[in-house]
């Protein structure tokens, strides 16, 4: 509560007149705002502002920081709902928004926007609507991407308001409609610039409806004449232009400029027109400018002068009609003349500072207000603005005034319509002055001068054609103009100071001359006139201002004079900047105005200065507005008639100017000092609604102004940015230049180095040549030497070959020597041999001789014998007989030989036969042998069987013997028993029986008995018998035991009968052995032995022994054989029966053999 009270106090103190208190309070508020986050303070402030319309409160509110924005917006929203507070709250909102608070992006989400839109859709109050639309237009570039959701609302509002403009449903004053129209026009530009596709489609759909057609024809279509086709319509799409990405790149001022770019309306596009014009002639200059520093200056100046129509016109004229050089030149000169004061710092910022208000927002309004109000105040308030100010203003003109010019100039340039020609002439007029300025300095520019004269001469025509002034005055004007022209052409210098009588103009003039150089150079750079103009202007630079200062008073009069008569024309022209006003205003007004010009020439500057310093800008505005309103009130709605074709802004401007004119007229009736007090009085007692209307109008104008100011701020921002770019560019330029210098230096260095290199190369070449020469010499020497060497080498080789030849020769000779020696030796030998032979031959000769002698002797003897032979020739018969006998003998011998050979053959055949027989026999023999073998084996098998049988028989006999003996034993026992018992009679009988068989060995019986007993007891009998059988051959004779003897006796008895004959044959058989002893016998025996040895195991013993004996016998001498038989016979006598069998066989064998053989 205390705080609330405190707040109330603070609020009450907010508007205290004391500056110190004011600052304290403001600081206190700010502290509070920082500390307190609650909505209360903000609410209070808003309330306070609404109550008191306090500027301080407004200031505080518009600088609110982040956390309070919500409260503020809420509050505004709240008040927006109430119809009563809508207007002030809207203006508050406008103020706040124009400040571009840091939280501006929140606006799109705030309900405030909705309520604002709703208000715009529904409200019927024109003032509110106009204000709201301006606020909306201001707001749109700040929230471009978020605004898209309300796009149709915007379009709807546009549709509604455009229709409103035409139909005026609220039947409000026409004057409001002008404002509304202007704001709708701005909205149109904004929407078209930001959302062309959507907007166009909206227009298409909205105005295709019949009921809207009229609106379109009347309102929208003229608007469309002031825009060119948006590039986005070609390249973009509905979605693309709503794309947040597109907007993110652009800042608020970018958006504003973007919108301005597409405008053809100089009023609306005034700020951006520099760009606009620049962009329109990119082919010629723009590219240039960006690269060329001078061009950039030019751009800057252009931009600075972008506001000034003359400058843009030459462009247009240039591009459109190149022939109009004067017009081209003149704008330049105009520019030059209008060049800002800070020319020395030709930088664009300086220029901007001149043309546009300083960048700081604090200064901007004051400056602008000053500049804007200046001419009017001069013109109306002091009646001095008549001629001087208008002349000066175009150059230094702040936006509003320049915009006037712009309108006039741009229109003719854009289209060659007759009514706009007048504007052209308007522009021409200022050109004239400027050109005069130029020509002052630039006397060589005759042609421009003449040309300008042409235009000037045209001017009156235009004026005459267009203006609704009376012709008389026109004639006068014409005269005045022609005079003026002549004056200018003859002595241009005098013309310059004419503007100088007006202090602001004078000032600008100074600056103009100063700045001329830059602009001139820039222009010349572009247009090619620089060659002539530049030096001149530069030469003019210094004297220019001086002369300008000096001249004012000199020229003052001459100009004044024409002004008095025809001076109206420049004034009119200049004023004609406000062409319509001059047209519309009654002619009488002009004359006093002219006077006023002269009159107020000294005063207005003073007033102006005072005004600037003394009054706060609101006061300026207030005064300006009031006057405007008054004027409007007076002039009524006359303007509207011709507005149709012009842009709404222009219409508004005209309205204001008319108001101003009216105001000045009215004011003129009053004394100047009392003017401020009396102006209300001048209207007498206007009706209350009139006052209300005026107030509203004032408000609207204020709003408009604020809106324009906002635009200007944006522009300033942009300017600053561009300036930075320029600085950078220049820096780069300088850097480039430095680099170029360096490059040049380095190139020089390189060249020097190249030179030295060449020198070095030459030297090197020299050296090389020398070196080559030396090398060549050396080479030749070497070649020579080599040649010599080769020669020597050849010589040596020749010598060597010779040497070898010699050696060979020597060797050959030696060989020959050897050969010769050999030959010698040989010959010696031969010689010796020959000598020997010789001696031999000698001896042989001797012998020959001896033999010859002998031969002779023998020959003689032979002769002798021959003689004897002849004597004995009769004995031949005997010889023949002998011969025959010998032949017979020979025949006989031959026969004998034949016989012998035949016998031999026969015998040979015989031998062969015998041999074959022999072989056959051999074969047979072999067969026989085989057979024999066979037979032998067969026989052996049989023999084995027989053997076994024999053995069996022996066993049988043994068994029998045993049995018999047993029986005997028993018998004897029984007989003995009987003997013991019987008598002797019986004994005698027994004795007889005993004699029969016991005479051989009854004695042995006892021994045999004993033997049997032993055999029974010890069973030794079988071995003994076996042993006896095995060792029979050798031991039978020795083993002549009694028992054996008995056996043998028994056998012998059987055998003796048989053996008696064999015993006689034994010697025979033995004797036959030797006969078979030769070949066959031996073989048979061997075979026998082998077989017997291998096969006969059991018989082996006996047969072996037999063969052994045979062997031993055979081995003995044949002589011994005769003796041998008896001895075996003796020893073998008991054995014979056994061996006889074998012997028989052998004998058989031998016999068979013998038979065979």
């Amino acid at each position: 509560m205390a705080q609330q009270g405190n707040v109330g106090e603070l609020l009450s103190m907010l508007d205290s007149p004391s500056l110190g208190v004011l600052e304290d309070i403001t600081a206190a508020f700010k502290d509070n705002l920082i500390c307190d986050r609650g909505p209360m303070l903000v609410n209070n402030l808003v309330d306070y502002y609404l109550e008191t319309n306090s500027q301080q409160a407004l200031h505080i509110l518009s600088t609110l920081q982040e956390p309070h924005d919500k409260h503020l917006l809420d509050k505004i929203n709240e008040y927006m709902g109430k119809a009563a507070t809508r207007l002030p709250i809207l203006s508050l909102l406008g103020h706040v928004i124009r400040r571009q608070p840091s939280w501006k992006h929140k606006l799109s989400q705030a309900p405030l926007l909705l309520s604002l839109l709703k208000c715009l859709k529904t409200d019927t109050d024109v003032v509110v609507l106009t204000t709201g639309v301006l606020v909306l237009i201001t707001m749109l570039p700040m929230i471009p991407q978020s605004g898209k959701q309300y796009l149709h609302d915007f379009f709807g509002i546009f549709g509604r308001l455009s229709a409103w403009c035409l139909q005026n449903p609220g039947h409000v004053a026409e004057i409001y409609l002008v404002h509304l129209h202007a704001s709708v026009y701005a909205l149109f530009h904004r929407l078209y610039g930001m959302y062309p596709c959507n907007f166009v489609s909206f227009l298409r759909s909205h105005y295709s409806m019949k009921e809207n057609l009229e609106t379109f024809e009347e309102v929208v279509k003229p608007m469309m004449e002031h825009v060119r086709i948006h590039p986005e319509l070609v390249t973009g799409s509905k979605d693309h232009e709503l794309d947040p990405r597109r907007w993110k790149r652009l800042e608020t001022h970018d958006v504003v400029i973007e919108c301005a770019k597409i405008s053809l309306d100089p009023a609306e596009a005034s700020y951006e027109d520099g760009y606009y014009s620049a962009s329109r002639k990119p082919c010629t200059n723009l590219k240039h400018h960006q690269t060329d520093p001078s061009a950039s200056h030019y751009i800057d100046t252009q931009s600075s002068y972008g506001t000034s129509t003359p400058y843009s016109t030459p462009r247009l004229t240039l591009s459109q009609m190149p022939g109009q050089l004067p017009q081209i030149l003149s704008p330049q000169s105009i520019q030059l003349s209008t060049e800002p004061q800070q020319v020395t710092i030709w930088s664009p910022s300086a220029v901007c500072g001149m043309t546009t208000p300083p960048t700081s927002p604090g200064i901007v309004p004051s400056e602008s207000s000053q500049s804007s109000s200046q001419p009017y105040s001069k013109a109306f308030g002091t009646s001095a603005g008549g001629k001087g100010t208008p002349l000066g203003t175009p150059a230094t003109s702040p936006p509003p005034s320049t915009s006037d010019d712009f309108v006039h100039v741009s229109l003719p340039s854009a289209a060659a319509t007759p009514p706009k020609k007048e504007d052209k002439s308007d522009s021409g007029r200022p050109l004239l002055y400027r050109q005069q300025n130029v020509t002052n300095s630039d006397k060589s520019l005759d042609t421009p001068g003449s040309k300008s004269s042409v235009t000037l001469s045209d001017l009156p025509e235009f004026l005459g054609g267009l203006s609704f002034e009376d012709s008389a005055e026109k004639d006068r004007e014409e005269d005045a103009i022609s005079k003026e022209i002549s004056e200018i052409t003859t002595d241009a210098e005098h013309m310059v100071p004419r503007g100088g009588f007006d202090s602001p103009f004078y000032r600008t003039n100074e600056s103009l001359s100063g700045s001329q150089k830059k602009t001139q150079s820039a222009v010349s750079g572009v247009q090619g006139h620089g060659q002539t103009s530049e030096p001149l202007t530069s030469s003019l630079d210094k004297p220019g201002p001086e002369s300008a200062r000096e001249t004012p008073k000199q020229t003052f009069t001459p100009i004044d004079k024409p002004c008095g008569g025809s001076g109206e024309s420049p004034a009119g022209n200049r004023e004609g900047t406000s062409g319509e006003t001059s047209i519309l205003t009654p002619s009488p007004c002009k004359v006093p105005a002219q006077r006023r010009v002269v009159f107020g020439g000294g005063q207005p500057p003073l007033y102006e200065h005072l005004f600037e310093v003394a009054l706060p800008k609101t006061a300026y505005l207030f005064v300006g507005k009031k006057t405007e309103e008054l004027l409007k009130k007076v002039k009524g709605t006359q303007d509207e008639d011709c507005m149709a074709s012009t842009s709404p802004v222009e219409v508004l401007d005209r309205l204001i100017q008319q108001g101003a004119d009216a105001h000045t007229k009215e004011l003129n009736k009053l004394s100047l000092p009392s003017k401020s007090a009396d102006w209300t009085h001048f209207g007498g007692s206007p009706p209350s609604d009139e006052i209300h209307t005026l107030r509203n109008q004032l408000l609207l104008l204020h709003n408009q102004l604020l809106y324009e100011r906002f635009k200007r701020q944006q522009h300033a921002l942009r300017n600053r940015r561009l300036l930075r770019k320029v600085i950078k560019a220049t820096a780069l330029e300088e850097h480039n230049a430095a680099m170029k210098d360096q490059l040049k230096l380095q190139e020089k260095e390189i060249q020097a180095l190249k030179l030295s290199l060449q020198k070095e190369q030459a030297r090197y070449h020299q050296f090389q040549e020398e070196h080559e020469n030396i090398v060549a010499q050396l080479h030749s020497q070497i070649r020579q030497l080599q040649h010599d060497r080769e020669e020597f080498y050849n010589q040596s080789q020749e010598l060597q070959t010779k040497l070898e030849d010699c050696r060979n020769m020597i060797a050959d000779l030696r060989l020959e020597l050897k050969k010769a020696n050999n030959k010698v030796c040989h010959t010696e030998l031969l010689l010796s041999q020959v000598s020997q032979k010789l001696s031999n031959s000698e001896s042989v000769q001797q012998q020959m001789e001896f033999l010859n002698r002998q031969l002779l002797v023998l020959g003689e003897v032979n002769e002798l014998y021959l003689e004897q032979l002849q004597h004995k020739h009769t004995d031949t018969t005997k010889v023949e007989m002998l011969h025959a006998a010998y032949r017979k003998d020979l025949e006989k011998a031959k026969l004998c030989v034949q016989q012998q050979s035949q016998r031999l053959e026969a015998s040979q055949k015989r031998i062969a036969e015998l041999e074959s027989q022999l072989s056959k026999k051999d074969h047979l023999f072999v067969e026989q042998k085989k057979y024999l073998e066979d037979v032998k084996i067969k026989a052996r098998g049989q023999l084995q069987a027989v053997e076994s049988r024999y053995k069996a028989q022996k066993r049988i006999t043994q068994a029998f013997e045993l049995e018999i003996l047993d029986l005997f034993g028993r018998l004897e026992k029984s007989s003995l028993l009987k003997k013991l018992e019987d008598e002797k009679t019986e004994a005698a009988e027994a004795a007889e029986e005993r004699l029969d068989c016991g005479n051989e060995g009854c004695a042995d019986a006892v021994a045999g008995y004993s033997e049997e007993t032993i055999g029974r007891n010890g069973e030794t009998k079988p071995p003994s018998t076996r042993g006896s059988s095995s060792s029979k051959a050798g031991s039978n004779s020795e083993l002549s035991t009694p028992e054996k003897n008995q056996n043998q006796r028994f056998i012998n008895r059987w055998e003796t009968s048989m053996l008696l004959e064999p015993s006689t044959t034994v010697p025979l058989t033995v004797g036959s052995l030797p006969s078979s002893q030769s070949f066959l016998g031996m073989k048979s025996r061997e075979l026998f032995r082998n077989k017997s040895e291998s096969q006969c195991d059991e018989q082996g013993g006996t047969i072996n022994s037999l063969s052994d004996t045979l062997k031993t016998e055979l081995c003995k001498d044949p002589n011994m054989e005769t003796k041998a038989p008896p001895s075996p016979n003796n020893s073998l006598s008991p054995k014979i029966p056994e061996s006889s069998v074998g012997q028989l066989h052998i004998m058989d064998y031998n016999e068979t053999h013998h038979d065979h053989s």
């Binding site: 066979d934 067969k938 049989q942 084995q944 069987a945 049988r949 069996a952 066993r955 049988i956 068994a959």
Partner: protein
């Protein structure tokens, strides 16, 4: 080799595919056609193949040396043998060792005893183990051979061969049996050893009597073929096969006495199979004798 052309050319393959004895008779006939019989070939043949019964007696006689290899002397030699037999027979009758009522086997025994000079002094003399063996063999042989003279000679020769040729080998047979049993069926051997029956097996019946009285004659013939042809190892395998065949029963029996008793009286139904298996086993273990036919 002209004989080969008469033989079936498939004979070579019969054996390969498992047929046996198809061509044996023929090859035996070829062998027997030779005038001087090749005893070695006959031996090999007899070892390899079972002899056809119609030639068995002849082959046995030849192999045992009862008749010589020459055909011509067969009649003569047999005549001798016959005379010898009858001589001895007569002598035995004379000395009253035998009479008409004496069984043939006893007659054979006495004749043998007489011929080997072992005739006891008295009939009352107890029979020796040798004689028991002889009697068993003779009994078996009597079944096989009709003619008493041939029978006597075969028995005598057989016994003589056993006593002379195989005397040493026969004593080794129990050991060999154990060895092969270990190879064939270790478990059975373990069982037998556990029962201590290994030493109490009827070795006399098996190895001395050559299964005479143990196997029926039809089976026995085939065993004796091998023995007569010179191999007494077959006895081991027959015994082994008997053990293996009656393995389950033997394992069921736990005492040596029972085992011995069982083995001495084995069932006679499938002895042919036993012998066949035994011959196979013998062939696998000792290898087939070289085919020199």
């Amino acid at each position: 080799m002209a004989d080969d052309s008469q033989r079936n050319f498939r004979s070579v393959y019969y054996e390969k595919v498992g047929f046996r004895g198809v061509e044996e008779k023929k090859s035996l006939e070829i062998l027997l056609k030779d005038d001087r019989l090749d005893i070695e070939k006959l031996c090999t043949f007899s070892q390899r193949f079972p002899l056809p019964s119609m030639y068995r007696i002849l082959v046995w006689k030849v192999l045992l040396g009862i008749i010589p290899p020459h055909h011509k002397s067969h009649a003569l030699v047999m005549n001798f043998r016959k005379e010898q037999y009858w001589d001895v027979h007569h002598a035995l009758r004379v000395i009253r060792f035998i009479n008409d009522s004496t069984p043939q086997v006893d007659v054979f025994l006495r004749i043998h005893q007489l011929e080997s000079g072992k005739l006891p002094r008295n009939l009352a003399f107890p029979l020796e183990p040798e004689d028991e063996v002889f009697l068993a063999i003779a009994k078996a042989m009597e079944e096989m051979v009709e003619d008493p003279i041939e029978c006597y000679w075969l028995v005598t020769s057989f016994v003589n061969q056993l006593n002379s040729k195989h005397k040493d080998a026969l004593q080794q047979l129990p050991k060999i049996l154990e060895q092969y049993l270990n190879i064939e069926d270790n478990r059975l051997l373990m069982h037998l050893k556990a029962c201590a029956a290994m030493s109490k097996l009827p070795y006399d019946l098996w190895f001395k009597k050559c299964f005479a009285g143990c196997l029926p004659e039809s089976s026995l013939q085939r065993v004796w073929d091998k023995i007569i042809s010179g191999s007494c190892k077959i006895l081991v395998f027959v015994a082994l096969e008997i053990l293996l065949t009656f393995k389950m029963k033997i394992i069921a029996l736990t005492t040596a006495e029972k085992i011995t008793q069982f083995l001495e009286n084995i069932p006679q139904d499938n002895t042919d199979a036993i012998v066949s298996k035994a011959v196979d086993l013998w062939h696998t273990h000792c290898g087939t004798p070289a085919h020199s036919v």
